[in-house]
């Protein structure tokens, strides 16, 4: 620095500062790209493991010191492990069967239909409860609530969003479960209804806050035009504001749906985890997420079963990605319309 320089930022363009500028720009750019790289990384890693599940079996273990007679007396799948190994999953089994039993003694099966149905059932039940309440709450907060009420309620909703899923699941076991058991006369209340109610609570904050933003984005002039036609505030809200914000509300619902599909601990603890195909809301169900959580800890590394769990994870990843992208597109359309 020369003596003549009085500014804190003098000598703007030396080779060093130019190099430093470029370096910082590059580093920040790299950090900026990290989100893209991580998303891509998750996709690629899951895809590789999934491909392994469908192509890579396990080699036979050999006789393992057993005589031919002892081997012939083993259960079918154990005999196979010694003689022909474990075959990779077939696509038709994975996507076409409702039986998930990778450790069966008789015949291994890796069908995800029952889990998929369970996930969808719990998710839809949650939305059925959370959407009317959530959109109603958003409409109230955006159109009717006094300023002070809003200032109190909004942080509370944020806090609700921060309650860990494991705590919600715990309350499903100790509070909601016994209540449901009493109402429906069952031994325990761990079933799809329990999970659905809890997931509704968990997706409410997302639905409320995104819907509220969507309602807020509707221009004042729409409301004023409605008042000018003689409609009152309720009618204006229900017939003008909510329909105008519909795309944003749909996006909010999709976001809530994405959260519900991916929620793990709550359903793991509250739905009972029976792996049969669910027939009713009072059945115990086991979702995609719960299956991974239950089994990944016990399965040996590199086996077909291990890779199969990644395939389930891949299905979850794609499912939530699609839901989120749709919500994103809808939301952008909504924002573009009113900006």
């Amino acid at each position: 620095m020369t003596d003549a320089c009085r500014s804190a930022f003098c000598r703007r363009s030396t080779p060093y500062t130019r190099f430093r500028e470029r370096l910082m720009h590059g580093l920040f750019g790299l950090a900026g790209l990290s989100a893209v790289l991580i998303l891509l990384g998750i996709f690629i890693l899951l895809a590789i493991m999934t491909a392994k599940a469908f192509t890579q079996g396990e080699p036979p273990l050999g006789s393992a010191g057993l005589t031919a007679r002892e081997i012939s007396e083993l259960p079918p799948t154990e005999r196979e492990m010694l003689t022909i190994g474990v075959r990779p999953i077939s696509t038709s089994n994975f996507l076409g069967s409702a039986v998930w039993n990778p450790t069966s003694y008789v015949k291994r099966s890796y069908g995800i239909l029952a889990m998929l149905a369970s996930t969808l059932m719990v998710t839809l039940l949650a939305l059925l409860l959370a959407v009317p309440i959530g959109v109603g709450a958003a409409a109230y907060l955006s159109e009717f609530a006094p300023h002070r009420v809003r200032e109190v309620v909004k942080p509370l909703i944020e806090i609700l969003a921060g309650i860990p899923s494991v705590v919600v699941g715990f309350l499903g076991i100790v509070v909601l479960g016994p209540i449901l058991a009493r109402i429906f006369g069952m031994p325990n209340g761990l079933n799809a209804v329990n999970g659905g109610v809890l997931l509704a609570i968990m997706s409410l904050p997302t639905i409320v806050s995104v819907s509220e933003d969507a309602l807020k984005a509707v221009p004042r002039s729409y409301r004023e035009a409605s008042y000018a036609l003689g409609a009152n505030r309720l009618l204006t809200t229900l017939r003008v504001v909510v329909p105008s914000a519909l795309s944003g509300i749909i996006a909010a619902v999709m976001l809530g749906m994405g959260r519900a599909i991916g929620e793990t601990m709550t359903v793991l603890m509250a739905t009972g985890n029976a792996s049969a195909f669910p027939h009713g809301l009072l059945d115990s169900v086991r979702t995609l997420t719960a299956t991974i959580a239950i089994e990944l800890g016990e399965v040996p590394f590199g086996t077909v079963h291990y890779h199969a769990l990644f395939a389930v994870g891949f299905v979850l990843f794609v499912l939530t990605l699609v839901v989120n992208v749709i919500s994103d597109v809808v939301l952008h359309r909504h924002q573009a319309r009113y900006s």
Binding site: S7, A8, F9, C10, R12, E21, M24, H25, F28, G29, A31, G32, L33, S34, V36, I38, G41, I42, L46, M49, I133, G134, G136, A137, Y140, A145, V153, L156, I157, E158, L160, G162, I163, P164, S165, V166, V167, V168, F170, L171, V174, I201, L204, L234, T237, L238, G262, E263, T264, M269, I292, A293, G313, L316, F317, T320, L321, V323, N324, D328
Partner: protein
Amino acid sequence: MTRSIRRRVSEVLGILVLGLCALLVVLALFWILYDLVATGGSSISWSFLSEPPRNGMTEGGILPAIVGTLLVSAVTLVFAVPLGAAAAIFLTEYSRRGSLNRFIRLAIRNLAGVPSIVYGLFGVALFVRLLGLGASVLSSGLTLGLLTLPWIITASEEALKAVPDDTRQAALALGATRWQTIRTVVLPQALPGMLTGVILGMARAAGETAPILFTGVAFSLPSLPGSLKDQFMALPYHLYILATQHQAIEKVRPIAYGTALVLIAVILGLNAAAIGIRYRLRKERRA
């Protein structure tokens, strides 16, 4: 006349129903908090917070779980905060518009929507296996770091955007380069706002269970983790096993309630701190 009264009544009723919806959301929160405090409150004592579990977790406290949760959250922040803040700086200071910016934002939003158990799978495959970090504090911290990254980026961005543009332009007019402007003008102003994002990120990390399930958390450990390569106990996982996996579930219920209450207290404390900072910032800005 009667028609207008009927209309007025139906309007009030309608608004009441909508208000009831909002009340229901708030009640859900209070139901959760009330139940935990009312039932779990009696489990909390100094020895509960300062002693390890004894007798197969049927007695004693939860100190190792508290320490483990704080430790793994710290690792999460060390990893996620610099990366997230740098990403936010890139998005607000270097590429405000354009297709790259939009693309990155799309990735961030989708990253935020990836299920936590999928982060767990990714953590097992990448950190535990591929990078050979094993089931450890480090693997779990990194996995949680990935999970909190989108939140930290978004919060940091908000803070950076709140810095008025004329201060940037003033710095540039004095001859500052872009990096100098960021370092000496933008960051100091945005720092408190970014801090709220960091705290909220920590609260998220502390409450997550699924991502640590297979990347390093342990059922029970004889001693506190001595290094980042050790396994650890954590509050959310401790609650999970006490509630579902313990052989004497009814007997350990008070301990489970106490654990849930401590976990919630940690998270609400962090949330309250973040909300408090944000509130003060807003006041200062208005003044």
